[in-house]
Subunit: 174 residues, 2 copies
DNA sequence: TTGATTGCAAAGCATTTGCATGCTA
DNA sequence: TAGCATGCAAATGCTTTGCAATCAA
C-alpha cells in the first residue's frame, strides 16, 4: 500500500508541476478527477469517469472531465486509446510499460500485451522505408480464450452478456 | 490496360452478385459510385468521394455515398481505415494484399507496408494468450523520409504545405 | 405492382466552444 | 484584483435515420 501511495503522490506532483509550468491553476475539480482516475485500473471512457466523479461531486460537469483528461494526457499520466467502438478510452500511462491491445469482439475484454520482437520489427520496417516513427498503435481483434472456447460448444453467441466494447465489424477500421 | 479493365469487370460483377444475393437492386447511383471508387487509387474520405461523384452527377446525395460505401465494404471491395484525424478513409480491398500503414504527421503521406514477420509474431503473441484473432490494425506515425531529411536542415516545419492528415497528437489514440 | 432506393431534413453521438459567473494565486 | 476555470447551452463534425417520392425488377 505504501508503494502505491508513493506512486499516487508522485503522479499528483507531476500533475501539479504540469499545471504550474503552464501558468494554470489547481482546482478541486481537477484534483478530484485525478484522484478518481488514479484509483481505477480499467480502461475508462469519459462517461465512465464522469459517472464516478459525479457520484462524489454531482456539480462537476462533463466538459471539465474532458478538459482535465486532456491535461492528464499532456502531463503523461494518461493515454488515449481506441478499440473500435468510436469511443475514446483512457488508461494509465505514467510508469506503465508501453503495450498494445487485444480486444475481444464478443465480451469486450481488453488484453494488454507487449512484444519486444514486434517492436523491433516495426522499427526495422520503418527504417527500410526511411520512415522515422514517433509512436504506433497495434490492435488485434478476435475472441479471447473464454469466448473462443465457449463458442466451440455453442456457435451462437450467448445473448446475455453485454460486451463493454461492441465492435461493429466494418472492414478493419476503428 | 486490358488487365485493369478485367479487374474492374471482376469487381463490378462481385458487387452485382453481392447486391443480388441480398435481394437488393442495382441503381445508377451505385454504379457511378463504384465506378469512381474503382478509378481512384488514393485513400478517400466520404467527402472526397462525394465530391468526385457530385461532379459527374450533382443529384447524388451524401447519404447514398455513405450507404454505398458500406455495401462495397461488405462486398469486400473496400476497406475502412483511420489515420488519426477522426476521418474514415476508404481504400481498395479486392485483390489487394493485406497491409498496414505508416502515416507522416507532417505532410500526411500514407505509406503502405507489409511484414510477414510481424504478422507471424502477432499470431504467436495472440496464441500465447489463447486469443483467436480475426483482424488487426497496425499504424506507425512519424516522419516520412522526405520530411525527416528536410527537418534536419530546417527544424521548424515549413508552414506552406497542407498535410492531408493532420494528426493532433493526443496520446497514442486515433 | 411491390418493395427497395434516394435525397432531404432531422436526429444522434462524441467532443468542443462561447460566455457569464466563480475562484485560485 | 487579474485572469484562469467552470458549467451550461449551443455549436461542431461525422454518420445514421425517418419519410415521402421515385424507380428497379
Amino acid at each position: 500500500m505504501a508503494a502505491r501511495s508513493d506512486k499516487f503522490e508522485k503522479e499528483k506532483s507531476i500533475f501539479s508541476d504540469h499545471i504550474q509550468s503552464l501558468g494554470l491553476r489547481r482546482t478541486n475539480q481537477r484534483d478530484l478527477i485525478l484522484e478518481i482516475f488514479l484509483s481505477t485500473e480499467e480502461h475508462l471512457t469519459i462517461d465512465d469517469l464522469h459517472w464516478l466523479v459525479h457520484k462524489k461531486d454531482p456539480s462537476v460537469g462533463h466538459t471539465t472531465v474532458y478538459r482535465t483528461l486532456k491535461l492528464l494526457t499532456e502531463a503523461g499520466l494518461a493515454r488515449e486509446v481506441r478499440f473500435g467502438d468510436n469511443k475514446t478510452y483512457y488508461e494509465h500511462h505514467f510508469e506503465h510499460e508501453h503495450h498494445d491491445h487485444m480486444i475481444c469482439t464478443q465480451c469486450g475484454r481488453v488484453i494488454e500485451f507487449f512484444s519486444a520482437e514486434i517492436e523491433a520489427m516495426q522499427d526495422k520496417v520503418a527504417e527500410d522505408h526511411g520512415f522515422v516513427p514517433t509512436h504506433h498503435s497495434l490492435r488485434l481483434w478476435g475472441l479471447c480464450s473464454d469466448c473462443a472456447s465457449s463458442s466451440e460448444k455453442q456457435p451462437a453467441a450467448p445473448s446475455g452478456a453485454q460486451p463493454r466494447v461492441r465492435v461493429v465489424q466494418k472492414g478493419h477500421a476503428a
